[in-house]
């Protein structure tokens, strides 16, 4: 007999969403319990910062450069209409440090490092490596999950800082070198407009995004079905859920900081 799959009714979908939220919360608590032990194993942690951070560096730097150039071009065009093209340095710095830097870096991180984390852990599950550790009385949460979570949490703010610097260089390249904005004006406007509060905002956003992206990646990988399709779905869910949550949390955090 052919089974007819009916879509879940709304109340059940809501319950399922709440159940998953609870499961992620419990997973996070268990994960946080293992983090101090992982911090005492710096070699594992450094390896994961390298995997998540250094290996994302090229894509983050290239994206930062191009986005900075676009900001420089669009910003110059817009400001020139109001006769304030000298404010380009200020506009580019604030938009990059407060918004574009943390958000775009987090989206890139979710697409590059998040998917790699989810699929790596998912494949370790599918090939019994996680079960083997568990059978050897080694908690995979401590050895596999916690170092990857912490690695992502530390790597994203560093990547964001690099993205911001390269982005500002890109904006300067277009605004100053191509459009003729005066170099001293560009940098002095930036210096006077950007305060510590703006930098804090960017750092806090990147820390929150780093925690969310890494948590979703390790959760999805750890709970993926041990099949090729299951690992693929876990990877897709990591990217989609991370992207939606990054944009949602960006709005919430912006509202809090304003």
């Amino acid at each position: 007999m052919v089974a007819v799959v009916r879509p879940a009714r709304r109340p059940w979908r809501l319950l399922e969403a709440l159940r998953k939220l609870g499961a992620v919360g419990l997973f996070l608590l268990r994960l946080l319990g293992q983090c101090p032990l992982s911090l005492s194993r710096p070699r594992l942690l450094v390896a994961q910062i390298y995997n998540s951070g250094a290996r994302s560096l090229v894509i983050v730097m290239l994206s930062g450069l191009f986005l900075g150039m676009v900001v420089g071009l669009q910003g110059y065009d817009l400001l020139a209409r109001f006769g304030s093209s000298s404010a380009l340095g200020e506009a580019a710095a604030l938009s990059l440090i407060k918004e574009l830097g943390p958000v775009i870096t987090a989206l890139l991180f979710a697409g590059r490092a998040g998917t790699a984390l989810a699929s790596e852990i998912g494949l370790m599950g599918a090939t019994d490596q996680l079960a083997a550790m568990d059978m050897m009385a080694v908690d995979p949460m401590r050895y596999v999950v916690a170092p990857r979570f912490l690695g992502g949490l530390i790597a994203l703010p560093l990547l964001t800082a690099i993205f911001d610097c390269i982005g500002l260089y890109g904006a300067q390249l277009v605004g100053v070198q191509m459009m003729g904005v005066e170099s001293g004006t560009f940098w002095s406007q930036m210096q006077s407009a950007v305060g510590l509060r703006d930098i804090y905002e960017g750092v806090i956003k990147s820390l929150v995004f780093g925690a969310v992206c890494s948590l979703l990646a390790v959760y999805e990988g750890f709970h993926s079905e041990p099949t090729a399709e299951g690992v693929g779905l876990a990877t897709t869910r990591t990217v989609v859920n991370s992207a939606v949550l990054i944009l949602l949390l960006d709005y919430v955090l912006t509202a809090v900081f304003l």
Partner: protein, 279 residues
């Protein structure tokens, strides 16, 4: 060697290392075990046989405390594994080794580091001592020369021997083998069989071998259980099982394609199904 119930010299009061009593377990509403009973006596090679899908691997997962039975008890070293808190379960698992069917080697570590992994996690041995220990275990499985290779560079038989070296590196009291002969060439099968025997004999490791390979089991096991339909249908020395008259035992031992374990998966009438209009 400890004798088993029914064998001359058997001590019926001896505490079994693994004691499975009236275990019920179901997956997705399908009963895998319904009243399973078996015991593993110390120092011997106990085989658990049965057709595919009878829950042999599930039984190992119950013994290791990864799964919990819905009814009944699984006791290992006298402890009910399903009720143990994580720390005590991990303490128990350090006394038990498990050889996975796939080997389950950690793919980002070399052969040497795979074997050293449990020692590095549980004991703070100086590196020179650890090196000697790992090389000794690799020598025991004949792969000392492969210490620097990565798991991707190993054949199936070599991977299983490395996994065996890893399983014995902590000197476990009990070693569980999940289908150790599956997918191996005859030479590798012979190597694994000899290793199981020699580890049992020289290190006095109690061994539980889950397999459906009747010929290999006959050659190494001291006692065997045959599972079918969620419980034990026959038990005894492998030679005794050959004489069992039960149809399911005879079908399994002779490898008959049809019998109590049917060739066809349950399906509606073939003729009627052919005449049915496709939906």
């Amino acid at each position: 060697m400890n004798a088993y119930p029914g064998q001359p010299g058997a001590d019926v009061h001896e505490e079994p290392l693994v004691d499975v009593r009236d275990v019920h377990y179901a997956i997705g509403g399908h009963a895998v075990f319904s009243g399973l009973n078996l015991q593993v006596r110390p120092g011997a090679i106990t085989a658990i046989m049965g057709p595919s899908g009878t829950g042999k691997t599930t039984l190992l997962r119950l013994i290791m405390g990864e799964l919990a039975p819905s009814r009944g008890r699984v006791r290992v070293f006298g402890q009910d594994v399903a009720t143990l808190p994580r720390e005590r379960l991990y303490a128990l698992r350090r006394r038990v080794g498990l050889l996975f069917q796939s080997g389950a080697l950690l793919t980002d570590l070399s052969v040497f580091d795979n074997v050293a992994f449990p020692v590095r996690e549980h004991a703070k041995l100086p590196e020179p001592v650890l090196r000697e220990l790992v090389l000794m275990k690799l020598q025991a499985v004949g792969l000392r020369g492969a210490a620097e290779l990565m798991p991707s560079e190993l054949s199936g038989g070599m991977a299983r021997r490395v996994a065996l070296a890893r399983a014995i590196v902590m000197d476990p009291e009990v070693l569980l083998y999940d289908e150790p002969f599956v997918g191996l060439d005859p030479i590798s099968v012979g190597v694994i069989r000899r290793l199981i025997e020699s580890l049992n004999r020289t290190l006095s490791i109690t061994s539980v071998v889950v397999s459906h390979d009747v010929q290999e089991i006959n050659s190494i096991a001291h006692y065997a259980y045959l599972l079918s339909g969620g419980s034990v249908v026959a038990e005894g020395a492998p030679a005794q099982l050959k004489g069992e008259s039960a149809q399911v035992v005879q079908q399994f031992i002779s490898g008959a394609p049809d019998g109590p374990v049917p060739f066809h998966y349950p399906a509606p009438d073939y003729f009627e199904q052919l005449l049915e209009r496709p939906r």
